[in-house]
Amino acid sequence: MEGDAPFSRNRVLETARQQCGLTLRALWHRYVEMGGSGLLPDIAGFLDGEPVDDRDYDYLAQALNETFMELDLDSPVPYVDDLR
């Protein structure tokens, strides 16, 4: 991923969501499980270009990477630490 500007994060998250076939609602549930406090419309906003902070981004990245893990695929979503 190039840089960690908000638009890049959005794109990475949305691309990964589509790749693993996770519905927005299922992603939200998994994000809540990680500790996220955003509601479904917030998640939709994050994937659609709204700024997403480090904590929420990592929760979503973990939720997506666990989905890839279930599918026996490599975890493609970088964490904030990986981007620094």
């Binding site: 609602r25 299922a26 549930h29 998994r30 809540v32 499980e33 990680m34 500790g35 480090d54 904590r55 990592d58 929760y59 973990q62 990477n65 666990e66 893990m69 975890s75 964490y79 630490d81």
Partner: protein, 264 residues
């Protein structure tokens, strides 16, 4: 064959005998009609599951609509076709053929018309395959009501009769009431089922979130680190061990062992 308007019954018509089920023209006594319609509303409020609602709809249709001998519900969603409830094998056969060939009044007409009526579809040339199959199954006329229609999906209540000209104006009114009540109940039931699924999903997520929160708390206390750092520690262990983060958290909470992150 045309779409028929649902005529209102003539309430208070003194040609009707209130004590009999119907007069010579097939019109139901107003009191009986009102009672039947009230029964429809009452009966469809009670069932809980979608399947129970669908079964009730077809059963009530045959029970309350004098001309109706067989009833079925047809649901089309993209390429998928479901016939979740019927009162007879004849309807299942005919509606399956309609669904498979995408050819027949219940597929064609009901998308554009809320109500479709044919007093004798064997005499209609538009759906020859359907008409032949229906005739073979002993079905002669049809009264179909749209339950819902969306871009790629539709639902219909199909009422059949084994004789021509079977459906009276009162039958059409009863059918319309059953269909409207059925559509409303279906929408409500589907919405509440979705809410139950949603609640279950969130409940499960919150259970895991609680364990993850406990694990973070242990690490924060033990390592004197922030919550975000504790999450990062759990997340790295999840990656290293290739197990879900909630499982890493559960092990820490249950055993007290510091998660293995692979860092030396």
């Amino acid at each position: 064959m045309t779409e028929d308007r649902v005529d209102q019954p003539t309430v208070g018509d003194d040609t009707l005998d209130p004590g009999s089920a119907s007069n010579a023209t097939g019109a139901t006594a107003p009191q009986e009609l009102a009672r039947d319609l009230a029964n429809v509303a009452r009966s469809l409020v009670e069932p809980q599951t979608v399947q129970e609602v669908l079964d009730q709809i077809v059963r009530l249709s045959v029970e309350l609509i004098d001309g109706c001998s067989d009833a079925g519900i047809l649901l089309v969603a993209g390429d998928d076709v479901l016939i979740p409830a019927t009162t007879s094998e004849a309807v299942r056969r005919v509606d399956t053929l309609q669904a498979q060939t995408r050819d027949g009044p219940c597929i064609d007409a009901i998308r554009d018309e809320e109500v479709f009526h044919s007093s004798d579809f064997t005499a209609d040339g538009r759906w020859p395959n359907f008409a032949a199959a229906a005739a073979e199954a002993g079905l002669r006329s049809i009264l179909a009501f749209r339950l819902f229609v969306e871009a790629e999906s539709l639902g219909a209540l199909n009422l059949y009769a084994r004789r021509r000209d079977a459906f009276t104006p009162d039958d059409r009114l009863k059918g319309a009431v059953i269909a409207a009540q059925a559509a409303a109940t279906l929408a409500q039931t589907a919405a509440s089922s979705q809410m139950v699924t949603e609640a279950e999903g969130l409940r499960e997520a919150l259970r895991s979130r609680d364990v993850i929160g406990q694990a973070k708390g242990i690490l924060m206390e033990r390592e004197k680190i922030t919550g975000d750092e504790a999450f990062a520690r759990l997340r790295r262990s999840s990656q290293h061990l290739n197990v879900k983060l909630r499982e890493v958290a559960r092990r820490l909470v249950e055993s007290g062992e510091t998660p293995d992150t692979g860092d030396s």
